[in-house]
């Protein structure tokens, strides 16, 4: 049974983190990241060719995380695989003991390190969620029976700060209808918009895990605003980090404040420390 699912069902505030598989076969650095994050997190997302760039597969890396004693959230994008491969990887994931899956569209290949690649997008994330739910019910997307059903806890991404809100809300409701039970949000900077999202989605029984990004340097802010799709750092927050004597320290203080606020609003927090993994305990308000 997914511990993440049980905790959310019990109304406990969950903490999720994120590890990125390496570009290469050496998992030493990833192991080190897991060791730093594991004591503070209930589950760790394992990204799937993040940034549309080549990395070790999320499937194998998720299993590695599981073997290290912490529950992974296996991320699957629709960019690199067609419906046969997606379903077969879901079966593989279940057989490997991976119980949480986060289905996402995926960045366009043109944003990554193989810009000449064909973006597959045979399915979109809603369709993939629906198919995953079908596999939980024991059949493939063609309604043919599976020899052994899965029982994934299905999650998806959510973007409380990306306007127009009516489109975002409709999209999230569509995902819930497709079988999504938890959302992990893009980084939150405006808590009123997070509140708006949680209030709208809770009645549907969906859990919301709010994203916190540690804006460790002015360079990170520039990168987000110029290069990262679907996210902008508001001026007031950007100025606060930029004008700080020690931007990294200020970013940790800011993230700590955000986590405190999120505890009162959402069902959990998803922490993206951008390398400041050692500060995660402090950000979460743990005395470790």
């Amino acid at each position: 049974m997914s511990r993440l699912k049980d905790m959310l069902a019990a109304g406990e505030f969950v903490v999720t983190g994120e590890v990125a598989p390496p570009k290469g076969a050496d998992v030493t650095a990833m192991r080190a990241a897991v060791e730093l994050l594991a004591p503070h997190c209930h589950a760790l997302n394992v990204t799937d060719n993040q940034g549309a760039s080549l990395h070790l597969a999320s499937l194998a890396a998720s299993r590695l995380v599981l073997d290290m004693g912490i529950e992974p959230i296996f991320q699957q994008t629709c960019r690199d695989r067609n419906r046969l491969a997606l379903q077969s990887d879901l079966l593989a994931a279940w057989s490997l003991g991976l119980e949480n899956v986060l289905v996402v569209t995926g960045d366009d290949p043109r944003a990554g390190d193989h810009p000449n690649a064909k973006g597959v997008f045979d399915l979109d994330s809603t369709q993939l969620a629906e198919i995953t739910r079908g596999m939980n019910e024991g059949h493939d997307m063609m309604d043919r029976p599976l020899a052994g059903a899965t029982d994934f806890f299905i999650g998806a991404a959510m973007f409380p700060e990306a306007e127009p809100w009516d489109v975002q809300l409709a999209r999230a409701e569509q995902k819930i209808e497709a079988g999504v039970r938890f959302f992990q949000t893009q980084a939150i900077f405006d808590m009123t918009r997070l509140e708006r999202a949680v209030e709208a989605l809770r009645p549907h029984g969906a859990k919301v895990i709010a994203g916190v990004l540690v804006l460790k340097s002015p360079r990170v802010i520039d990168f987000i605003n110029e290069r990262l799709a679907g996210l902008m750092v508001p001026d007031a927050i950007a100025d606060r980090i930029r004008s700080a004597d020690d931007p990294a320290e200020e970013a940790i203080v800011l993230a700590t404040e955000q986590v405190r606020e999120i505890r009162a609003i959402a069902d959990g927090v998803h922490i993206m420390p951008l390398g400041l993994d050692a500060a995660v305990g402090r950000i979460l308000g743990n005395n470790s």
Partner: protein
């Protein structure tokens, strides 16, 4: 119509050099390539001048009515049989369909002079946009007449994706997100629903495409 662009000139030169061509016959197209300003009389004349500047002989040229029409192109080829016979190669300023039709109509080596891009709408003279991918299973009934398969860079049926920001597309950042447009128009027409569009049936995309209405008794 089929939108084309001129093929990189170096590739054309390389193609002709690969068979040691000294003389060339040029064929344009009176339909799409004329409207796209890539294979009409003006462009054929420009290419002829360019080839001559390289020291190649242009034995003749023509702009057929519809180059992808096999019967018409065969007739056109017969009409210019002598000039084509005198050439080492035929350079075609038409889409890939036109190039293949010419290749089926003459015995000389045939080379493409254009790159074929997409089925395009003519927004204004010289401004073309892709609106239809010819997927074989139209969803425009459900998407307020805006095709997500074609106009969303990821081709998502259900969207927007996570890259949308302030209503704008992640990939083509100067364009409004297709799914935002669809939702707005559906809402304006009081038919915005909650349903998810089902995965596309790619078996409907005939590849290679072929239709024979004669075999269907001439009926549509």
């Amino acid at each position: 119509m089929i939108i084309t662009r001129p093929r990189d000139w170096e590739r054309i030169e390389d193609n002709l050099a690969s068979i040691g061509a000294r003389s060339v016959f040029i064929m344009g197209c009176g339909q799409c390539a004329t409207v796209a300003h890539t294979g009409g009389e003006t462009e054929v004349a420009e290419v002829a001048a360019r080839l001559e500047a390289l020291g190649l002989e242009v034995t003749g040229w023509t702009v057929g009515e519809v180059t992808c029409h096999l019967g018409g192109t065969k007739r056109e080829s017969r009409k210019h049989g002598g000039d084509i016979e005198a050439a080492d190669a035929v350079l075609v300023l038409a889409c890939g369909a036109g190039v293949q039709t010419v290749a089926d109509s003459v015995t000389k080596p045939v080379f493409p002079g254009l790159e074929s891009l997409f089925l395009g709408n003519v927004i204004r003279n010289g401004i073309f946009e892709e609106r239809c991918l010819m997927c074989g299973e139209c969803v425009l009934d459900k998407t307020a007449g805006i095709c997500p398969v074609t106009t969303c860079p990821k081709g998502l049926l259900n969207g927007p994706c996570g890259g949308m920001w302030e209503g704008m597309c992640e990939v083509l950042t100067d364009r409004e997100c297709t799914h935002v447009r669809i939702r707005r128009r559906l809402t304006e027409q009081h038919r915005a629903g909650k349903g998810t569009l089902a995965p596309k049936d790619f078996s409907k995309t005939l590849k290679p495409g072929g239709v024979n209405i004669r075999r269907q008794g001439g009926s549509r």
